[in-house]
Symmetry: C2
Subunit: 332 residues, 2 copies
């Protein structure tokens, strides 16, 4: 199989954790042994936890030596690998969707880790242009490691783009729960797995934007109860009218700021925003909302479907039991 | 990676050719070299052409020896491999979604091919229970090849199920072309890639079933013009009324039988049937229609969506440029 095949595995693994890694980017990493056998397909899963490269090296070592007992704390894995890799990964090969970092942040630089374990080639999808992290490829090249750039570069950019938008000030996306035939309202559409994933997203975002009509009709709570003790997002009710029944549960959630306004500029004060809604919101999306995330049930429903005229591009789909979700980018 | 990972690659490759292989089943095969590196991911693509195992062994040998020039005729590849494999695949490993065949049909038995090249292990998803082809695993075991059964058995069964239904007398599925929000009518929905694929399916089926109202409104041709010189399917217009304007193009296609009836028993005289239609057909599907194939555009459209109350199960999705299709099974 060619480089595209392995990079594709890394990209798809990383997409599973899109948004969940914030304020870090979603990154995937695949490691092959010296004979070309796949040892690991891993991703960065959460800020403060191990980077994609560290997870992939850890898993690869576990495959080669199941007796190796890794520390439970993610911030100790890097040092453990440096001490105990025992040259098991000498002449192995790594595929990384983003250039390995070269700086000491919460974790030491991944480029150095790859050098230390004796990797012979690193294939990179997208060059890291950030002042903070760039330079990983140079560090590798100086250690005589073969570095290849630009494999599935466009798809690696798509994976990174939400993070780059966030870095520049704002990443906003619309979340919809939809039946096969476009029904998005009138009761619960998706299953528990889908709703748990939505609650995980709510925990990561800075602001949840919702239409005034949805608030009045659905009387939602908009919290993270399905994932226990999650942080509840601030709410922006996108509405001209200011009068809302304050017994609607969302107003009763602790440690939350609720803004009621139709001034979309206020939304852009927040960096990571999820819009939740239906037909009205889809047809009145501010132009800075760039992506749509659709959670799909596997039923046709006997209710009115959502109506709109919007072109989108499919980026990634993931199957859950009975449901699936798809990330799309809105075409301008 | 574990056996599931490699079997999954074989399953997904085979699904791409679902229906197109008839009257043969869709089968996929993955070959790893003696060190566990993936050499090939292949499938059976068309009846009369090479089986999945032959395609996979051919591709694996091409990877290991790019100078090997294979014969162009598919029916000569088997013998060519036997003569020229040169033990390059000694101790390799194969994953096959269906037990390799043991009989001399249009091609010699695949189980024998795997034996001859010196394979050391064959992992099989689903046991072949047909009197004609079964016994491949025994042939392998007698040659001291390690045989493992039942990896992703349920998914391998799903892949094979349309063929098993066809073998028992009838496989019928509904094809829909749909926007993101469930619009299926009122003009062309999907792109050229989707419509070419539909024409490929029309070439393979025995009967195309369509609703009377669609015939009157759309005045379709229902031929295979997008794939040049394809066989055009017989047509069954599902309608009580017999009076149709015979200048509607479908009546003018040569070498085609057109039946107009509401007696669904007549449909079951044909073994492989594709239903094409919209809301009316979806809500009046005969109970022997077991699967739905949805070609999806990547637009929300400002038209009325399809309405129904049907539960389905997602089996396989495939991305094409700007469009994608998903195979579903109808839940009873």
């Amino acid at each position: 199989m060619n480089d595209d095949f392995y990079m594709n595995l890394a990209i798809n693994e990383a997409w599973k954790y899109q948004i969940l890694t914030y304020p870090n980017p979603a990154v995937g990493c695949v490691i092959l042994d010296k004979n070309g056998k796949i040892l690991s397909i891993e991703a960065h899963k959460q800020a403060g936890k191990a980077h994609a490269e560290v997870n992939a090296v850890k898993k690869a070592l576990q495959v080669l030596n199941p007796n190796l007992i890794f520390p439970k704390e993610d911030d100790k894995i890097y040092e453990f690998i440096i001490k105990h890799h025992n040259n098991l990964l000498k002449n192995s090969k790594a595929y990384v969707t983003l250039e390995p970092c070269s700086h000491y942040g919460k974790t030491p630089p991944c480029a150095n880790l790859l050098k230390e374990i004796g990797i012979s080639e690193v294939v990179i999808g997208y060059e890291d242009k950030s002042d903070l992290a760039k330079g990983g490829a140079n560090l590798l090249k100086e250690a005589n490691i073969n570095v290849k750039f630009g494999i599935l570069k466009d798809r690696c950019f798509e994976l990174l783009e939400p993070f780059l938008m966030w870095q520049r000030g704002n990443f906003s996306f619309l979340k919809l729960g939809m039946s096969i035939n476009g029904v998005v309202s009138g009761g619960i559409i998706t299953n528990l797995d889908s709703r748990k994933m939505v609650h995980k997203l709510r925990e990561k975002i800075d602001l949840l934007v919702i239409g005034g009509n949805t608030v009045r009709v659905d009387r939602p709570t908009l919290d993270t109860r399905l994932i226990n003790n999650g942080k509840n997002p601030d709410i922006f009710i996108y509405s001209k009218k200011q009068n809302f029944d304050k017994s609607i549960p969302l107003f009763g959630v602790e440690n939350r700021k609720v803004t009621i306004s139709n001034d979309i500029k206020l939304i852009k004060n927040y960096k990571l925003c999820m819009f939740e809604g239906g037909e009205n919101l889809l047809n009145n999306l501010p132009n800075f909302v760039s992506h749509i995330l659709i959670f799909s049930s596997t039923s046709f429903m006997n209710r009115k479907a959502i109506n709109a005229d919007v072109k989108i591009q499919k980026l990634f789909s993931f199957d859950m039991k009975d449901n699936f979700y798809i990330w799309y980018k809105i075409k301008s």
